[in-house]
């Protein structure tokens, strides 16, 4: 039996932890979590991926039993597709999209990130490097969107060196901090890398 305790964790960590556990778990997953946003986000995430969620109220939070007939049975019933395993990674290396006027580039990047919320397939991880980290820092207009992506199971990670360079380490407002080792390792193990 797989057990996970995400009580006391701030969003989007509960979803990220549950996502990782579901990817590696066999059979049922039992999760202890806080009421409020963690409960709602984990439930929405799991059900959105075809899992069934049975919830039980406890004195200090909720206990979820997550079973995956949708995902697990479908995987067992059909032959495995001929694609490599590994996460889908998006690498955002700028706060602008494409070459051209700065203002247009920034607008396009902002628009692109907000549009991700309408997509049925999302990347597993988004890495922000160079000026891309500015998108995840305080004052960015896509902070709310990035946090919502986090709630849907996308790991949002910014390069620590870059945050340090732009003096934004203290004002990171969405996702977490990562290093080049993790970025390189994840990209090399990825099923696909979308580079912007």
């Amino acid at each position: 039996m797989n057990k996970l305790d995400v009580r006391g964790m701030a969003c989007p960590l509960p979803v990220v932890q549950v996502k990782r556990a579901l990817e590696s778990a066999q059979g049922e997953l039992h999760v202890l979590l806080d009421d409020g946003a963690p409960r709602e986000n984990v439930k929405r995430f799991a059900q959105g991926r075809g899992y069934q969620v049975h919830e039980e109220q406890l004195e200090d939070g909720f206990a979820f039993t997550i079973t995956g007939p949708g995902a697990t049975a479908a995987r067992e019933a059909t032959p495995a597709p001929a694609v490599a395993a590994g996460p889908t990674v998006m690498l955002i290396g700028s706060d602008r999209m494409g070459d051209g006027p700065e203002e247009l580039g920034r607008l396009l990047m902002k628009n692109f990130i907000m549009t991700l919320l309408d997509m049925s397939e999302l990347p597993d991880r988004i890495f922000f490097v160079n000026t891309g980290v500015l998108l995840a820092a305080e004052g960015s207009e896509v902070v709310e969107t990035l946090n919502e992506l986090g709630n849907r199971g996308v790991e949002v990670l910014s390069c620590g060196i870059c945050l340090d360079f732009f003096k934004k380490k203290e004002t990171l407002a969405a996702g977490g901090v990562t290093n080049m080792f993790t970025i390189a390792e994840t990209m090399l193990a990825a099923r696909s890398v979308v580079r912007l």
Partner: protein, 87 residues
């Protein structure tokens, strides 16, 4: 991204929507340039979102600058109500 009761202003060109965003931000009004919802046709694919509490100031500023939107909608549950037709 768009809460119930929020307004969504649709413009007919990228230049007008960018100009409107710049104008409203200069006035420190709480607005956000967003991808236009799929349900609403927008030539440039962008819209400006704002809440009821700044509606008066936003629309006054846009009118004074000759930048009124082509269409204005209000989010009502799962749908958008066109302002001027049903209000």
């Amino acid at each position: 991204m768009i809460k119930d009761g929020d307004f969504v202003a649709i413009f007919n060109s990228i230049h007008r929507v960018m100009e409107a965003e710049r104008l409203l931000k200069d006035k420190q009004l709480k607005i956000l340039l967003i991808p236009a919802p799929r349900a609403l046709a927008a030539d440039c694919g962008l819209a400006i979102r704002y809440a009821e509490d700044v509606r008066g100031e936003v629309e006054e500023a846009l009118a004074a600058a000759g930048l009124l939107p082509r269409e204005l909608y209000r989010k009502n549950g799962d749908s958008f109500v066109k302002i001027g037709e049903d209000e």
